[in-house]
Amino acid sequence: MKWRVGRSHCVAEVPPHPPLPTPIIMTDIQKLIRAVEQADSSARLLEAVERLAAAQAKEATPTLIAALGYNNPGAAVAAVDGLVKIGEAAVQPLLELIDDYNYGARAWAIRALAGIGDPRALNTLLEAAKTDFSLSVRRASARGLGTLRWHELPQEQRHLHQAEALEALQLACQDPEWVVRYAAVTGLEALAIAQPNLTPQIITQLEHIAQTDVDLAVRTRVLLAQQQLQKSLVVSNN
């Protein structure tokens, strides 16, 4: 299964790392990398990227990042998985390379950053959510803005940055593309759970979307977000 963050605990925790893999010696990683570089069909590429991703090796980062741009959706999904598993070590390379990409690859890179949840990605996510012309990039970043690991930021910065995220998500709620608005609702839900101070404001925003959005899927996602927030309020009040 792809990287996933459960709804009820999306912000507070890093997806748990699986047990460390059996140590693989460098030459094995190099072999896996070479298999990706030499793959001569999309099926072989997919398999090679899946194997490299499973190795969870930092050295695989550049190759996995390159695989985001091969225009092979299966391989890109596997590469995002792999980068999310590598985690923090993949953040800086992703941030450095993000501008060089075509928009398809940029969306995957943003997805990887969102999956990792490292707060260093905040400015990139804010910028992408607010200004990117590609709807897939805006979608992935709206999702990511909710699920950042906010607790890694010092408290005084956290409030400021969460307010910035809220502002960007409110903007994304008016996006012409339904899927960006849908993603923004998931972001708002996660942000409200991460920061109870923002919850009342977000609840108001969700009510507004429930009444005005033209897409049933978006309104339905709001319904679920409202239920989740209700549950989390009950939990925090007890």
Partner: protein
């Protein structure tokens, strides 16, 4: 949200998608439908559809464009008619139905295809007899023509329209197309048969198609499953090797179908499952 006044239109979020700043006003676009410049006519017809300008004058102008004889390619195609037919489906005005039915008999394949798609969107069963007649071109009795592949009619668009229009009387005509040599047409037939019979076997055919080696066909199957809202496909859609954006659109179809079946709209277990999958693809 969609509205017809040109003033409000300027604020419509859809304008964010306008191409290269080439902006028209509604009045200009309508006037351009009769411009001496064929390129401007062609662009105006597309533009009115893209921005769903549901004004009476736009609808009337586009209907008139369905009879255009000026914009004709050496191969006998009618580019303006194609765009006009596509736009009329998006505008949702029922007065276009008779003219679109007539366009189903146009000599240009792509005009017939666009007309079938737009008639599907407009949802008026008045077009069923003409659609059935077109479909019958591909049949000898209740069997496919022996000479295949047969590209003479836009069979996929016709099949999809008949399914959406719930034209159950056409089942005997639709069914043979499940064996059509063109996979895209097979999928359209499966989609229509599911809509006409609700038999899961037809939905499962489309689920199976998600594993096709050809990416384009996987995308087609995703779109088909989204259109019929076939819930058992949810997990398979999420796992399909295709772009997340297309999987999300397909799952949106499933979700909305689920919600529409519960009164008042509520979150069924099926709906929540689809939402979880959608969230994982964002």
């Amino acid at each position: 949200m969609r509205n017809s006044s040109s003033e409000n239109f300027a604020n419509s979020p859809s304008t964010d998608n306008a191409v290269d700043g080439d902006s028209l006003t509604v009045e200009q676009a309508i006037a351009n439908l009769e411009s001496a410049d064929l390129g401007l006519r062609f662009y105006a017809a597309w533009w009115l559809g893209k921005f769903r300008v549901c004004e009476e004058a736009a609808v009337k102008g586009l209907i008139k464009a369905l009879d255009d004889e000026d914009d004709k390619t050496p191969e006998g195609g009618y580019p303006l008619r194609r765009n006009a037919a596509r736009a009329l489906g998006k505008l949702g005005d029922q007065q276009a139905v008779p003219a679109l039915i007539k366009s189903l008999e146009c000599s240009d394949f792509y005009v017939r295809e666009a007309a079938a798609q737009s008639l599907e969107m407009l949802g008026d069963p008045a077009c069923v007899p003409t659609l059935s007649k077109l479909l019958a071109f591909g049949l000898h009795g209740e069997q496919l023509l022996t000479q295949q592949p047969d590209f003479s009619q836009p069979y996929d668009a016709i099949l999809e329209a008949l399914g959406t229009l719930q034209a159950t009387e056409t089942i005997p005509l639709v069914k043979p197309f499940l064996e059509h040599p063109i996979e895209r047409v097979q999928y359209a037939a499966a989609r229509a048969m599911y809509q006409l019979t609700k038999e899961p076997g037809y939905g499962e055919r489309l689920v199976h198609a998600l594993k096709n080696d050809n990416l384009q066909l996987r995308r087609t199957a995703l779109a088909d499953l989204g259109s019929i809202g076939y819930l058992p496909a949810a997990e398979a859609i999420a796992q399909t090797l295709a772009e997340n954006s297309l999987k999300l659109i397909a799952l949106k179809g499933l979700l909305e179908h689920q919600v529409n079946q519960t009164h008042p709209p509520a979150l069924s277990a099926g709906a929540i499952k689809v939402i979880d999958l959608m969230d994982s693809l964002l």
